[in-house]
């Protein structure tokens, strides 16, 4: 009789594929995962308390640092929350620009998320390098508009920091030529790849029945087959003006999440094309009203959520009538999507943990806040 012995292995916090300083206390039986406990907080900086000590506008650059891949999406959610709290109207053109930026962010995030996931499977950087190439182009666009690549700090209450520069749209149109080629190529490279299928199909299944009860959102939820997308479920900004589809998975495994992300890139591209069509007709209004520097919302609370590339990103704000938020709470998608990690990994092999983690697509800046 072979007596197997349970072994506790620490994966992380210093580990090549934990996407930052994240630790998983894994109990393994041979190579099979028996239990897993996520441990985090290594990057915790009490973002919420910092925010409560700052004025509303001062928090805008801090939201960039939550999910540093998607600073535009973070900005959007925060700006929406403050606008709801203070009752600020946003000019139409600014809304279009916001949607444009957030959809670009989604493409950027999914390109790198897919790349990182394949990297965790052991592909030597190649899909990641291709994703990064497209990401760099999008970051160039961000830089043109906002002046920074990652920490864009582009959105303002009631608008955006400044209008799009003249060279932005031509460059974006060029990029839109490259994007389908990139996505098709990625599919050709990976979709039928037998090794990827072996590693992804049937791994990390989050069944449809339990996905909702775990509170996961974003591609993880949709990969499990639940068509929940805040953009459709509760359309904010001008999302009700665009045609786009919601891709959902069938089984809820790593492969489904991978395919959902790829399809979402296509849909985002579709939205961007529609934005480009409608943008010239959008009514103006002052895109960056400088008067909004000192927002003093009335007493009350507001919650705004958007479909960030990683899931539902919400900001809950309570105002006590002063220039600083009384309470500032971030509902971080990466953080909540980690809830089912333990159950998703149980019963699979150690090598699958990193792939499952990669398919959830977390950013520790957001998880730890």
């Amino acid at each position: 009789m072979l007596q197997t012995q349970e072994l506790q292995v620490n994966i992380g916090p210093q580990h090549p594929s934990t996407h930052g300083v994240f630790r998983m206390l894994v109990t393994v039986d041979g190579e099979t995962v028996v239990d897993l406990k996520p441990v985090f907080g290594y990057l915790h900086r009490n973002h919420e308390q910092i925010a409560e000590a700052n004025t509303y506008l001062q928090n805008m650059p801090y939201t960039d640092r939550l999910d540093y891949f998607n600073s535009m999406a973070n900005n959007h959610a925060y700006a929406m929350a403050v606008e709801r709290l203070a009752g600020i109207e946003v000019p139409e053109r600014a809304e279009y620009i916001r949607v444009l930026m957030v959809e670009l962010t989604r493409i950027l995030n999914h390109a790198s998320a897919v790349g990182f996931m394949i990297n965790d499977m052991g592909a030597w950087q190649t899909p990641l390098a291709f994703g990064m190439r497209e990401r760099e182009k999008i970051l160039d666009l961000f830089e043109m508009a906002s002046g920074a690549r990652l920490m864009c700090n582009y959105f303002r209450f009631g608008g955006v920091a400044r209008d799009l520069p003249p060279e932005f749209i031509p460059n974006l149109r060029e990029l839109l030529v490259a994007l389908p080629a990139y996505i098709d190529e990625l599919e050709r490279l990976l979709r039928d790849n037998e090794i990827l299928l072996q590693r992804a199909v049937g791994i990390g299944i989050l069944p449809r029945e339990v996905a909702l009860s775990y509170g996961v959102t974003g591609p993880v939820l949709r990969g499990s087959g639940i068509p929940y997308d805040v953009r459709k479920a509760e359309p904010y900004s001008v999302y009700d003006r665009f045609d786009f589809d919601i891709p959902i998975g069938k089984v809820g495994d790593v492969y489904d999440r991978f395919l959902v992300r790829i399809e979402e890139m296509r849909q985002s591209k579709r939205i961007i094309e529609q934005v480009l069509e409608q943008l010239p007709d959008a009514k103006g209004g002052h895109i960056n009203p400088k008067a909004r520097q000192n927002v003093r919302p009335p007493v009350g609370d507001a919650y705004a959520r958007i479909e960030s590339p990683k899931g539902e990103l919400g900001f809950y704000l309570v105002s006590d009538g002063s220039g600083k938020p009384y309470r500032y709470k971030v509902r971080a998608p990466s953080f909540i999507n980690l809830t089912p990690l333990a159950d998703m990994c149980r019963g699979y092999k150690v090598a699958d943990i990193v792939v499952i983690l990669g398919s959830i697509d977390i950013v520790m800046g957001e998880v730890d806040r």
Partner: protein, 173 residues
């Protein structure tokens, strides 16, 4: 796309769980200023639930009303009023705006029944609330600090937590 106003929700809850609802008075967030008017009282329209009936109310929202996505649990520390407010936010998987349940517990004995055994989505939310505010979720299977290290003393998001000069930051800064 189902839509439910706070008043409607209150009515449904009152019909189903008559004991669960509590009436609360408008709340002052800050002490009244020495001169000038009080900025305003905080009185959200959402139903307030008694902590003892929270689980029943949440399960009613999930199973009967169909709001199966527990999106957020936010804790607000109303230091001046001496209470914590927990804001539970639910969404319907078919879309539409969400509904909110609120629970107020006294600051000195913040105990709320845990939703986690019935609804795993609450797990990390509750652990976070415990870590940062010290709200104790009775019945949580693994109520440990999630961000701070286990030996950390105090609850950093409470309004009376020293901003500077505590034992971790060192003397005067």
């Amino acid at each position: 796309m189902p839509e439910m106003s706070p008043a409607e929700l209150r009515a449904r809850l009152a019909a189903a769980l008559p004991d669960a609802l509590v009436d609360v008075a408008p709340l002052a967030m800050t002490p009244p200023p020495a001169h000038g008017p009080q900025p305003g009282m905080f009185h959200p329209p959402d139903p307030f639930v008694h902590p003892d009936h929270l689980v029943a109310a949440a399960l009613f929202v999930r199973d009967t009303l169909g709001y199966a996505l527990l999106s957020d649990i936010a804790v607000v520390d109303y230091l001046y009023a001496g209470c914590f407010e927990l804001v539970y936010r639910f969404y319907h998987p078919s879309g539409g705006p969400g509904i909110v349940l609120r629970v107020r517990v006294p600051r000195d004995a913040p105990q709320v029944p845990s939703l986690t055994p019935h609804w795993p989505a609450a797990n990390f939310h509750e652990r976070e609330a415990f870590d940062l505010f010290g709200v104790e979720f009775v019945g949580h299977p693994y109520l440990r600090r999630i961000y701070m290290w286990d030996e950390f003393e105090g609850f950093p998001m409470r309004k009376d937590f020293p901003r500077q000069g505590d034992k971790y930051l060192g003397g005067d800064e």
